[in-house]
Amino acid sequence: MTASRVVITGLGIVSSLALDREGTWSAMLEGKDGLGPLTRLDLPAEPAQIAGQVPMAPARHQTLCECMALAALEEALDGFRPGGDPARIGLFQGAGTSGLPVAEAYLEERLAGRRGRAAETSYQSPCTVTDALAQRVGSTGPRSTVMNACSSSLLALGQAWERIVTGELDLAVAGGAESLCRTTYAGFSCLKAVDAQKCRPFSRDRAGLNLGEGAVQVLLEPLDRARARGATIYAEVLGYGASMDAHHPTAPHPEGEGAARALAMALRVGGLDAADIDLVSAHGTATPANDGAECLAIRRALGPAADRVSVTSTKSQFGHTLGAAGAFGAAAAILALRAQVVSPTLRLEDPDPLCDLDCTPLQAKERQIRAALVNAFAFGGNNTSLLLKRWGGA
């Protein structure tokens, strides 16, 4: 197989900040966040009442995830009508809650002694979104729906890269969508992982995450095809790394051992050195356990070069979008590579000494960004890191 260079030629974002890419990016650079009062779910007994909500409503027989994912895909396509062999178009999606709100409603109906809508509930599997996106682009090629919890969509981007780099596909759509639901809200709440205030990644007094929703879709193509059709090229994908902690069902390895291996694998696969990295779009959940361990992982993987990188967390803008979180982190890195600006980590006024990296507090930072790593870590000790490079036209 001949290796192709893989470039990103489309990016669509539906977020709690804005329903489009540029609106979201502008708001991020201005230091705005999309966190506000929780209204989508009626959970008055929950101590935390903050979430990153997207002002969209799905059509009948459609989940919010599908609705947001399709909107993000439309923006990523930007009028492009994929042609050629439909079997060489692939769909790779990371899912989190997906059809869970429908299942919750069904269970509630059954507990109340009512019949419920079984047919519709059984239809709403996580791959329903993947199928809808495939239908939109006319794909008859590979599809997969990965559920690695919070690293799902970043791994989906890695899968898409794998298929393009080996010359198997001409176009891949990768990303993720996530909507708020009671199971995740109640779950993180009972784990005492939710902050009742707006979350503060990398801060000394960080007290947990806020949940969020949204969708990101990315188009990946071989460089030669992208050039041939005159596509806008946002960035180049160089590879990814993945690992397991084998440490704890929910907590990360305290010294970031597994995460560091994922970062190192991404660098090795992509053929870059630590000194080539200028940005890490971090998992940065604002939970006490994650942020310190992640900074240690970055130090382990990058060594002395860690002191020169900028780190940022999109969780401070959108909350934790779970299955879509990795794709949100990737989107922030892609746009940072394009604009040569790092989006800020909001509310980082008192950094944790454990997080002794430049975590881009409060304000966006203009700087040279040659290459970026994106992190997404998950329950089960699943770690994924994606390696992106600035597109300089060569």
Partner: protein
Amino acid sequence: MTRPQPELVITGLGLVLPCGDGVAAARASLASGQPCFADLPAALGQGRGAACTAFNPAGIIPPMQLRRLDRPSRFAWVAAHQAFLDAGLDPKPAGERIAVAVGTMTGGSEASEAFMRPYLQRGPEGASPMVFPNCVANAASGHLALAFGLKGPSATFVDRENAAFVALEQAARWLRAGLAEVALVIGTDGLFPVLQDLCLGARLLDRHGDPEIGSGRGFLTGEGAQAFLLEPRARAEARGARPWALLRGLAARSSVAPSEAARAESLAAAVLALGAFSPAFRIGGGNGLTRLDAVEARLAAAHPEWPDVIHPKVLWGELAGSGGPLLAAALLQPAGPVLVTAPASSGVQFAAHLEALRPDP
């Protein structure tokens, strides 16, 4: 850049099925052709299905940990234990080079019901922090990593009836890219009340309690796990392993429209993508529901030269490992080329060409 494509073999097999744990039970079940359906225990749901009632994790999963695991994770743990033993491979020293790819249609769902039922009834007081971590589909892979010290790449796929095939495909990719030396591929599913209730309400279940290919009456659910250790043939030979099968080809095609005709065309294209070969044995993914059976029937009608097909889903139920049982049945065939056709209700249709390498015992 040109990458060599190493041949991949399956050197370890572990099975938890409604017919019992282990290879011998599965062989006997396939030989007898007797379905494993019975009235389900109340804890798993109402009606008939194929439950792993003989499942025995004693001596394999420590009791303290057993309590914390959902059914798919329990099944996966025992199947993985069998597979490592079968392959003669101690996973711990090589943990960083072992990947895990899981396919499951129900992973996380049993726990989600167990978590939400008391929450909906009692509010936050009913929410259990012990149960919530199992609400993710990748809970099993995390438990496997902890149990066996696995630290390589990991992914969990939820692609309906064929999730285990997607997992196998990803595992093969990691091995070929050199990101792992060995991959543990798992198909796992567990039954739970709301699943049974949903399938019944959606009129998917065979109300006669005896699914039959081509009847159009529907399927019955099943549970279990299958574990396959995949490694490059050269590596397996170097360590003296005795492979079950050579993975000669795995192909997937999807259709834009979910219609029966479009899906049949996709399955036919997947078979075509495997290249020409004459299967000595054939395993099919029909389950008694027209949605799947008709797709396979169209394909078989175009190939009258093919051997008779074995349908594991009418023995062990639908789900039961989300495609894993089809791969397991293929490995248990006498030495020779095996064609597996795996139709799906939507998404990707799979076909696999395995060369079974162990003679019939």
